[in-house]
């Protein structure tokens, strides 16, 4: 009881602190001209009320979710049922084919809005799967993952611009290879060093990449690039373009899930986990640590690039905002919320963190302003209360070792 009340007190104190710190900026408005010194501050209570009306319920919902997750972690089943079931599914190709077919068919029944939401969920699932390879398996922090997503998207858009009629299906391997090669070059200097250099270097690379495409006339500058119709994901026979995009996304997610799962349960995957657990001991087991880290990071970047090509293929445009820090943090939050290293976990994290804010935004438009605030809170809270993520119990890795 005392533990819980202490927790409640800590949370409310934190909330009050955030409110007090932000209040002066939210409640007041600056009038006049700073140059002439004729400045007047006025009190705007409605701003503060608007802030409160979003943050308080949001914080309450978030806190109770995290609290339930923490409770589940302490008392609940040691092997989360959802994660176990999903991992079993990944071992059964026929069941996955059936699932893919069912989801594809359901595309014909979905509304245009549902198809768009579904395609974006697929997109973020791909990104989360890719980032999980470096963060979850190999234990390397990447803070600029969106750069590789943007690399894939721009590679596709640029090739489509100069090669009219370049088909969307060919863009997936193109996006993968371009981004994997970029990842290899970015990782080469910093993966030879120990420590979190990769985090800083990727962070810088993402910013540099955005400035590069903003200032490159061939890449369309701030306006970005619009893909020619012939290169977009198009309808086929009775299928509309939106349905084709959804079906394409479903199969890409399934393909990537199986590939990443099989990679994890192989000699390479074991070596990655060993590096994450103890780098020196892993090297002593004959594992070329630098080479395997580079492999993990290149694959991760490649999957990001594939997702980028998919994004460009179904939305039909790319612009520099694909490579923002927001995007990187969003994908990072998905991986951490769902559970680093757990495939069902990161897939669930991606769906939750895309769908919840998007659907809430339709209901309460102001919430969009506080997106990053919530992501930050989720990251901190998960690290404190359930570091293994919602579905990420390390125990589920055990029972499915081997090819089955």
């Amino acid at each position: 009881m005392t533990g819980r009340s202490r927790l409640v007190r800590r949370w409310s104190a934190g909330l009050a602190g955030i409110f007090l710190l932000t209040a002066p900026f939210l409640w007041t408005k600056v009038h006049g001209d700073l140059a002439t010194g004729n400045v007047r501050l006025s009190f705007v209570p409605s701003n503060a009320l608007g802030f409160l009306s979003v943050v308080v319920p949001g914080f309450a919902i978030g806190a109770s979710l995290v609290w339930m997750a923490g409770l589940w972690g302490r008392l609940g089943p040691r092997r989360p049922l959802v994660a176990t079931a999903a991992n079993r599914l990944l071992e059964r190709p026929w069941a996955l084919l059936a699932l893919g077919a069912a989801l594809s068919c359901s595309g014909t029944l979905m509304s245009a809005k549902a198809l768009s939401l579904g395609s974006f969920v697929c997109l973020y699932m791909m990104l989360a799967l890719g980032l999980n390879v470096t963060i979850g398996f190999t234990g390397l922090l990447v803070l600029g993952y969106a750069a590789f997503y943007a690399t894939g998207a721009y590679a596709f858009a640029l090739v489509a611009k100069f090669l009219p009629g370049f088909p969307a299906w060919a863009a997936f391997p193109l996006g993968f290879c371009t981004a994997a090669a970029t990842g290899f070059l970015v990782g080469l200097p910093c993966l030879r060093l120990r420590g979190d250099y990769l985090a800083i270097v990727t962070l810088g690379f993402a910013e540099a990449f955005r400035e590069l495409v903003r200032n490159l006339p061939a890449a369309g500058g701030d306006m970005g690039l619009i893909l020619p119709d012939t290169s977009r994901i198009r309808g086929l026979g009775p299928l509309s373009a939106a349905q084709a995009a959804w079906i394409c996304g479903v199969w890409l997610v399934l393909l990537l899930s199986v590939s990443v799962h099989r990679l994890r349960h192989s000699r390479t995957g074991r070596a990655w986990i060993a590096i994450r657990e103890d780098e020196t001991a892993a090297a002593m087991m004959g594992i070329p640590v630098v080479r395997l880290k580079l492999l993990a990071f290149s694959i991760s970047a490649g999957v990001g690039g594939l997702a980028g090509a998919y994004f460009a293929g179904f939305t039909g445009f790319v612009d520099p905002s694909t490579s923002t820090f927001d995007q990187s943090v969003l994908v990072l939050s998905m991986v951490i919320l769902g559970g680093m290293g757990s495939l069902p976990g990161v897939l669930a994290g991606a769906a939750l963190l895309y769908l919840v804010p998007t659907l809430l935004r339709d209901q309460i438009p102001q919430i969009a302003d506080y997106r990053l605030f919530f992501f930050g809170s989720i990251l901190v809270a998960m690290m404190l209360l359930r570091p293994q993520g919602l579905l990420g119990s390390p125990r589920h890795k055990l029972e499915l070792e081997g090819s089955g």
């Binding site: 590939s259 192989s266 000699r267 074991r270 986990i273 060993a274 657990e277 002593m284 004959g286 390390p394």
Partner: protein
């Protein structure tokens, strides 16, 4: 007979501090060479130089006649030298079996795409890695704990798992850094039997150990270090009666007992 491991005039300093110097030794297949010496004598530094974690400043290390001085740890391991660590370094969030299977890394083929399609050849190689690892767990007496988490094993069993994992790399030379540290007498007895049966497999063993009874009983030869330098080398009875050793190391503890 060429020695499995041969070290010549090895030296390593950190800044102005000389950690080890002038060390020469040979280790033969099926024999146990023990390294003893007071704390800070440079025993673990010596192991780090042999296994590639440190690059020695002077001297040479060779395995079966090939020079391995200054090679990276994973290349040293591939050439047949493996080790355990003084402060156990397992992979805690992996199962006991997986820990040993990691040791098979350099002894299994890569299959660039075989793992994706799960080709028969890939399946065979995974099964083989699993079988070898289970055999090694059997050998160290951990077969019934194969599916436990490494971090859940009691201390004494973690030490044995570390030995099994090191054996999985198929070493010709195995370095054990204080295999009996922190163990109770019955665990030490088990560890002694294990070390003996590793020797019987024809592996050259180099063991750092503090338990003098253990050292005197199992060693074929003993090398004594003090302040980073070798002060005596020989069979146990010679070392036991060497006045410099008694002065530097054994003497003090014998006086304590009197």
């Amino acid at each position: 007979m060429t020695p499995a491991l041969s070290v010549r005039d090895l030296g390593k300093s950190f800044g102005g501090l000389v950690a080890v110097q002038g060390i020469s030794m040979e280790s033969h297949p099926g024999q146990i060479l023990s390294i003893i010496g007071p704390n800070g004598a440079g025993k673990t530094t010596l192991f780090n130089c042999l296994s590639g974690i440190y690059r020695p400043d002077r001297g040479s290390v060779s395995l079966d006649g090939t020079d391995i001085t200054g090679l990276a740890p994973h290349l040293v391991a591939r050439r047949g030298l493996s080790r355990s660590f003084q402060n156990i370094r397992l992979f805690p969030e992996m199962s006991v079996l997986q820990n040993v299977m990691v040791g098979r890394f350099s002894r299994t083929p890569a299959f660039p795409l075989g793992f994706l399609l799960r080709t028969p050849a890939w399946r065979r190689s995974e099964k083989e890695a699993e079988r070898v690892s289970l055999d090694l767990l059997e050998f160290v007496g951990l077969a019934d704990r194969a599916d436990s988490w490494a971090r859940e094993l009691p201390y004494g069993l973690q030490r044995r798992l570390e030995v099994a994992r090191a054996l999985a790399t198929e070493p010709a030379v195995l370095l054990l850094d204080e295999p009996g540290a922190g163990m109770n007498p019955s665990e030490i007895a088990t560890m002694m039997r294990l070390v003996g049966s590793i020797r019987d497999r024809g592996i050259a063993l180099v063991v750092i150990e503090h338990h003098m009874r253990l050292v005197m009983e199992i060693s074929d030869r003993i090398l004594v270090l003090d302040h980073g330098e070798p002060i005596a080398e020989g069979i146990p009875s010679e070392v036991r009666s060497d006045p410099r050793v008694i002065e530097a190391y054994l003497g003090r503890s014998e006086e304590d007992h009197v």
